[in-house]
Amino acid sequence: MVIIETFGLSRKFGKTTAVEDVTLSVEAGEVLGFLGPNGAGKTTTIRMLAGMIAPTKGHAIVAGHRTDRDVEQLHEIVGMLTQTPGLYDQLSARRNLEYFAGFYPSIESQSQVEKYLKLMGLRERQDSKVGTFSKGMKQRLALARALVHEPKVLFLDEPTAGLDPEAAGEVRQLIRTLREEGRTIFLSTHNLNEAEMLSSRIAVIHTRLLALDTPEQLRRRFFRRQIIVQLEASDAGVMEVVKRLPFVQEIHEEGSQLVLELADSERNRPELVKAIVEAGGRVIAVSEKQYPLEEVYLKLLREENQNES
């Protein structure tokens, strides 16, 4: 079931176009990684989807509500983690949560506050002033705030930005937990590893939507699937035999490794290994060449820059 749908969503600020013609859809229970460089329109898109600002063109529907018309109803069913934690430093963690929970008519505040203080590992510090918290703790509390009313859709705007690796890891673990609970999460980030680790699909935006697919399919778009056969030692005889195999489409050597493209990389793999062993080659490992998502991302941005120029 589609829970987020945008139709040519655009937003201008004066003469500057922040977001242009973004059309996408997100399934319920999906985590969509929303990638883009600084100023690419990630936050503006999230703000439009969360009903915080209106689009100048196009529209979006989130959980059945037009984001530019049904703002109040929308705010009852979406949760938003803004770029800054936006908490009250002078109040305790519990009081912060109670305050925000107090705006939702449909929840039992106390039990919800209790639940999320526990989930975020903040129960022991619940009565401490937030001003005494570390950045990571503040971010966990802000995440609790975004979740306290059990939103159908959660918008996370760069949830690990500015956190140290340990705190960022804690926040990612919490997002994983939420993903396992089947929540729909729209995750804006410019951390490629984070996007790949947490998301089922990735959207790349640079004012316009450049790509939207699974990380694997995005890789395929730019890189063909390659198999790496690690041999004990380089062997010209083995190379000759492998070259003649009908399903080998391309082959080159990198030291004691053979890098190949096969007609069907799944099915042809056993035959390939058999042929190498029969030719006297000693196989240490067979693996698939991994292209970092970063390369895909940079290629997409380069393409976009070329199109613009």
Partner: protein
């Protein structure tokens, strides 16, 4: 639901207000400074100005208006007439308390949230603009009002303590009560609404404070009008004035909601 949300805002604001030393100081001590200053001016005028002040045309006119409103004052000796005239000004002087507290507290209420980033999180909840603004205005206006009433009591005690207790019968009139319990609440709400509106439109705390200066001017005007004898605020006049301010309260709330631009606040503030 609106009542629950407004109450929610009120309680949070009060915790923040009284855990912030500056705000707590302004709310608790400033009213007593106003009372102290009022008493001091009256004592100085009485002690050193004496009956000679009554010969000035300004006071002559004011005294004439006062005796028209409260004929019994005419039977008093000159120096006591002067005292009644001066003490009578204090009910309007009390209006300075909520307006000054509003200047100090309300003007920062939105700007502070903008700067800390909590406003964006707050605006992502289903809270309505009017609930937010009214909650913030009431959060300041209620303690300011309570302090104004306490100050009025303290003032009357001080007047008695200085040996002028017999004269309070000429001062604590229907007009005094109307000012204290109708005009002052209306002015308090108006001051805080204007303060909150200024705060939501200001680009920085300094801008908010500059806007706030405008709040206090009408109160000075009222005091000036009465003390110079241009108009003496009879109970009827105070009632009319209070009703006008109550109407202004509603207009200011509507205006505040219209002037509160969620988009610009979210987009332009970092």
């Amino acid at each position: 639901m609106s009542r629950r949300r407004i109450r929610n805002i009120l309680l949070k604001e009060w915790v923040l207000l009284f855990t912030d030393l500056n705000s707590a100081f302004v709310i608790t001590l400033l009213p007593f400074l106003v009372v102290g200053q009022g008493i001091l001016y009256i004592w100085l005028a009485f002690r050193f100005g004496g009956e000679s002040m009554l010969t000035t045309s300004v006071f002559q006119t004011a005294l004439q208006k006062l005796t028209e409103a409260i004929p019994g004052v005419a039977q008093l000796p000159g120096n006591e007439q002067l005292l009644v005239l001066l003490i009578s000004q204090f009910n309007l002087f009390l209006l300075l308390i909520p307006t000054m507290i509003a200047m100090s507290v309300a003007t920062f209420s939105i700007v502070d949230e903008k700067l800390s980033g909590s406003l964006e999180a707050l605006l992502a909840t289903p809270v309505k603009t009017w609930e937010l603004l009214l909650g913030k205005a009431l959060a300041g206006a209620i303690p300011a009002l309570a302090m104004t009433w306490i100050s009025a009591g303290v003032f009357l005690l001080a007047v008695s303590g200085l040996g002028w207790g017999d004269l309070t019968g000429f001062v604590v009139t229907a007009g005094w009560f109307l000012t204290l319990f109708l005009l002052t609440p209306a002015v308090a709400i108006l001051s805080f609404m204007l303060g909150v509106t200024g705060s939501s439109r200001a680009k920085d705390p300094r801008g908010a404070q500059n806007t706030a200066l405008l709040i206090i001017l009408p109160v000075f005007t009222l005091i000036g009008i009465q003390i110079t004898g241009i108009v003496w605020f009879t109970p009827l006049l105070i009632l009319v004035l209070a009703l006008a301010v109550i109407i202004a309260d509603f207009i200011s709330l509507r205006a505040a909601v219209r002037l509160f631009r969620r988009e610009s606040i979210i987009v332009q503030w970092r």
